[in-house]
């Protein structure tokens, strides 16, 4: 067990290092200029900015400095789009928002998706199955920028206590969370259905049925745990993705989360911000994968020995 965790941690460190290295050079290959402004910047001002952000040095030196600042001072650099603000502060400000929203939509997604998948599997090839799968398919296909405005106009507008967008009232989390949860719920439903169908056709389930164990008990006691293995495998990375925010949902619902930093960081060529986010996301992804692996070990006794 300890060995698994240790090797995972080392793997994560290596992956994150490679990821940051790749992004460090890749983002500099994108055309455009971090310091381009709608009014012409004089060559002097531009030079000053480049010096201020250490861009006047050669690429290898910049790369070495990037790691040096992180490892010695814990400094991820300043944002170039929002000058004077530290990347670490921006992440620290926006991550709790995304985490809160992500967790709620993940729970909602699980609450909808898993039962839907179980029902579909139990009524395999019956109308319940088809209905559930159509709903799931719709959840995958109908993207947030369609769902969001529909919810805003059809739910928030008629309800006086619910706002169209914003992040001030406690109820403001509802619509973005519902919008976000659909994708998760849809995948989970499909994966749970597949896992469940697989398990239900196993010999030991047939034996249980033959012995006269009630259906509900078969599902909760015998089928559920192995049937959820594919879903749990998916949940690891999905968890990391969803708690780091979604550009579209944040943009539509005016949520001050991390998702918009990703996209705006790239469009404004904010190298430090993008790198900081990639680093953070990489670590979270490694952590989430580790957790889902541990969960699998807990769920599947076969994995425990190997």
């Amino acid at each position: 067990m300890l060995k698994t965790i240790l090797s995972r941690v080392i793997q994560t460190i290596v992956v994150v290092f490679l990821l940051v290295t790749f992004v460090f050079f890749a983002i500099r290959a994108i055309p455009g200029d971090s310091f381009a402004s709608d009014k012409a910047t004089s060559p002097e001002a531009k030079e000053a900015l480049e010096k201020l952000y250490g861009r006047d040095k050669s690429l290898p030196v910049q790369y070495a400095n990037y790691w040096k600042n992180i490892l010695t001072e814990g400094n991820f650099g300043d944002s170039t789009a929002m000058k004077g603000r530290k990347v670490s502060t921006l992440i620290a400000e926006s991550f709790p928002v995304s985490l809160k929203l992500g967790l709620l939509s993940l729970f909602l997604g699980m609450g909808i998706g898993i039962p839907l998948g179980i029902v579909a599997a139990l009524f395999h090839n019956k109308w319940q199955d088809y209905t559930a799968m159509v709903v799931a398919m719709a959840g995958i296909c109908v993207v947030a920028f369609v769902l969001g405005p529909i919810f805003q106009l059809s739910i928030a507008r008629p309800l006086s206590w619910l706002n169209v967008a914003g992040w001030n009232r406690t109820s403001d989390i509802l619509l973005p969370a519902i919008t976000l949860c659909f994708g998760v719920a849809a995948y989970l439903a499909r994966l749970t259905r597949g896992g469940m169908l697989d398990v239900l056709s196993q010999d030991y389930i047939r034996t249980a049925r033959a012995k006269g164990v009630p259906t509900l008990q078969i599902i909760t006691k015998h089928a559920m745990r192995p049937a959820l293995i594919p879903a749990v495998t998916f949940l690891g990375p999905a968890f990391a993705a969803i708690i780091t925010g979604s550009f579209v949902v944040e943009n539509i619902f005016l949520v001050p989360g991390m998702g918009q930093h990703f996209v705006l960081g790239i469009t404004s060529k904010d190298y430090n911000l993008v790198l900081g986010l990639v680093l953070f996301y990489g670590i979270l992804m490694g952590l989430a994968n580790l957790l889902s692996d541990l969960a699998l070990i807990f769920m599947d006794p076969k994995l425990r020995t190997s």
Binding site: P31, G32, D33, S34, A36, S37, D38, K39, A40, T41, S42, E44, A45, K46, E47, A48, L49, K51, L52, D78, A81, M82, K83, G84, R85, L90, E93, S94, F107, G111, P149, Q152, L153, A156, R157, S160, W161, N163, V164, A165, G166, W167, N168, R169, T170, S171, N251, I252, F253, L254, P256, G257, Q260, T267, S268, K269
Partner: protein, 675 residues
């Protein structure tokens, strides 16, 4: 178990959140104005930003010498200054501003003339670490440009009354570098492969059949000892005296003829000039503020004297621009040096001290910025609002929906697709007002076919401006017959009109027929939906009226900007918004080395007219000269005007004193929420 907890939590959350009043109702009770502001500000330091959304916040926080009238354009009300007047006999070149002794910073410290001097000195700082983008706004000040750009000759010799030669004569020498000879144009090029245009620039310095090593001249570390005499001449003349390093100046002193001085500057004067600049470099470049004699002086604590480079009867108008606002000397210096740029924390909440009607209360990235009434403000009685909340809504569709759900008083804009809906649904709340801005197409005059003015004009006349305004934009925009929108006493020269027949004739005259012989050209625009629709309309018009197919190139914002600055385009759709109500805000950008020109076009005649206007105090004469200047540029057509801007926004009826203003700079101190 987990699920039970979760649902209980959800249920309790719903009960707690059952606030039935809308955000606007709550804000009305709290007397706070909520406005959409299109995005997160890049910063709040008035000297380090250049955008409209930042200025919306800065105008509520800070106050300049004069303040906008809430209803009348070109009218100045007392701000930090109580009274002001040009000194008699100075012809509008010297002004005295008597500051309001009651004006205080939000921490209670009085606002003094020293704060203004400090601010202008800060914005103009020539320090290579100081990245101010908007210092040009202070070039109105006498010697402002010389100080900011470190024109050593002008500062060290021109400003010295004891200098043996008058500056009027001396300045003809090559201090700034030859305009036509820019080293960056020759970088990474080979002499034998130079194009005709570039070769022409070098010709005057070369003997018949002589060649030079461009890589040696344009190298970052030029080794003067390795250069031939001709190469040295080209190098020195391209750089100009002010830009030479100490070592290069010393080399020049040994043989002054390597640079163009004009024959009126004798050798001993040349040596004296070089000696002074070398001495300055030797002394590790001490700050030149005192020697530069920039035209801003604190006569006493509450009297500010402004000397201008030329007569400007409209100076009070300019002082309303945020580049002319004061910053608190005592606070800026508390968090860093005078020109510590972004590392300084003086604009953060808790630190920021301002002199306007409001002060900073909360600033959360991508969430909101809230200002509260500044009790120390000298005219706090007039200020009706208790606060202003800015929402960084980037998604304008969301913004319109939020307005419909009573979440804001005012939207930043209404996207053109939603204007028909807004007209129907919010007929009383939709405002469509003129805005001094112009939409136009930059033309790259350096490349074929647009080096030919007839082709440019043909393209200009083939744009059906009316159709773009009425069928695509629908926001009340008007066809632009020039680049300066109509306002005040300025007479628009009225040159460009949709005329397909004439456009066709011009194209035929140009030597290009609308056939396949025409080079392939592209139209650069941004990646926005509205940008694409506009570009497609233009494409269709040129196809229809000229028979020329133009390719559309969409690039996202920073790449789009970069391509313009690099002159890497044929045609490019762009916009320009006036900083102040004077035609120069639209005309000055088209001078030869203007950073926002980017067309490769320049004209001596145009610049002479601008110069003349700059030195003319009589308003009708001045406007006439500027009108002539605009006619010059339009007849050469390096820009194709499309339309003049309007602002389209939604406003709630209880917001009062938010009136149409051409610059759209609404003074927050007069805005009221009627209960």
């Amino acid at each position: 178990m987990l699920r039970t907890t979760f649902f209980t939590a959800l249920a309790s959350l719903l009960f707690v959140s059952c606030e039935r009043r809308s955000d606007v109702e709550i804000a009305n009770e709290e007397n706070i104005l909520i406005i959409g502001n299109s995005g997160e500000p890049k910063g709040l330091d008035p000297h380090l930003v250049s955008g409209v959304l930042e200025s919306n916040i800065i105008r509520a926080l800070f106050e300049g010498l004069c303040v906008e009238d809430p209803a009348k354009d070109s009218t100045s009300l007392p701000g930090a200054a109580k009274t002001w007047a040009p000194t008699e006999g100075s012809g509008f070149t010297e002004w005295i501003f008597n500051l309001n002794p009651d004006a205080k910073w939000s921490d209670g410290v009085p606002v003094t003339a020293h704060d203004f001097v400090f601010s202008y000195r800060r914005l103009l700082s020539p320090d290579p670490d100081w990245p101010a983008e908007y210092a040009e706004m202070l070039y109105f000040l006498k010697n402002g440009e010389a100080y900011h750009r470190s024109y050593f000759g002008s500062i060290l010799c021109g400003n010295d009354p004891d200098f043996p030669l008058a500056w009027e004569t001396l300045k003809e020498a090559n201090f700034g570098g030859e305009r036509t000879l820019k080293l960056e144009n020759f970088k990474d090029k080979e002499f034998s492969k130079l194009e005709e245009i570039d070769l022409k620039k070098l010709k005057p310095y070369l003997d018949e059949g002589e060649s030079v090593r461009l890589d040696k001249i344009t190298s970052d570390k030029v080794a003067l000892s390795e250069l031939t005499k001709t190469e040295k001449i080209i190098f020195f003349n391209a750089k100009g005296i002010d830009k030479l390093s100490q070592e290069q100046l010393e080399a020049l002193a040994e043989e002054t003829d390597l640079l163009r001085w004009t024959e009126n500057v004798p050798e001993d004067i040349r040596q004296e000039v070089l000696k002074r600049i070398i001495a300055h470099h030797e002394a590790k470049k001490p700050n030149l503020w005192d020697k530069a004699k920039v035209g801003v002086t604190a006569v006493d604590d509450f009297t500010l004297k402004i000397n201008l480079r030329g007569p400007a009867p409209f100076l009070p108008e300019i002082t309303k621009h945020y580049t002319w606002y004061p910053v608190p000397k005592h606070v800026v210096l508390r968090y860093g040096k005078m020109n510590t740029a972004f590392a300084s924390q003086w604009t953060r909440p808790g630190n920021l001290v301002s002199n306007g009607p409001f002060k900073l209360k909360t600033w959360r990235t991508n969430h909101f910025i809230e200002l509260e009434k500044n009790p120390e403000y000298w005219d706090a009685e007039t200020v009706s609002l208790d606060g202003v909340r800015y929402l960084p809504i980037k998604n304008y569709y969301t913004e319109t929906r939020m307005f419909g759900d009573d979440q804001l008083h005012l939207t930043y804009t209404v996207p053109s697709e939603l204007i028909p809906m807004a007209k129907e649904k919010y007929p009383d709340q939709l405002r469509q007002e003129p805005y001094v801005g112009v939409r136009f197409i930059r033309v790259n005059t350096l490349n074929k076919p647009f080096d030919n003015p007839k082709v440019r004009r043909a393209f200009a006349l083939a744009i059906d401006q009316q159709a773009i305004c009425q069928k695509i934009l629908q926001g009340g925009q008007t066809p632009a017959s020039g680049i300066v929108p109509p306002f005040g006493e300025y007479k628009v020269p009225d040159v460009i009109h949709f005329d397909p027949a004439k456009a066709k004739a011009l194209l035929a005259e140009s030597g290009y027929e609308s056939t396949s012989s025409f080079p392939e050209i592209s139209l650069l625009t941004t990646n926005s939906d509205s940008g694409l629709r506009e570009a497609e309309a233009l494409q269709a018009m040129w196809q229809k009226h000229l028979g020329i197919k133009v390719r559309i190139t969409q690039r996202e914002w920073t790449t789009y900007l970069q391509k313009q600055y690099d002159a890497d385009y044929d045609l490019c759709v762009a916009g320009w918004i006036g900083d102040y109500l004077d035609p120069t805000t639209f005309l000055e950008m088209w001078v030869a080395d203007g950073g926002n020109n980017n067309t490769g076009w320049s004209s001596k005649k145009f610049e002479n007219l601008l110069n003349k206007a700059e030195n003319t105090a009589d308003i009708p004469t001045r406007m006439g000269l500027l009108s002539d200047a605009e006619r010059t540029i339009l007849s050469d057509t390096p820009v194709l005007p499309i339309y003049w801007y309007t602002t389209n926004y939604l406003i709630r009826p209880e917001v009062k004193n938010w009136n149409p203003l051409l610059l759209n700079n609404h003074p927050f101190k007069f805005v009221k929420i009627e209960k």
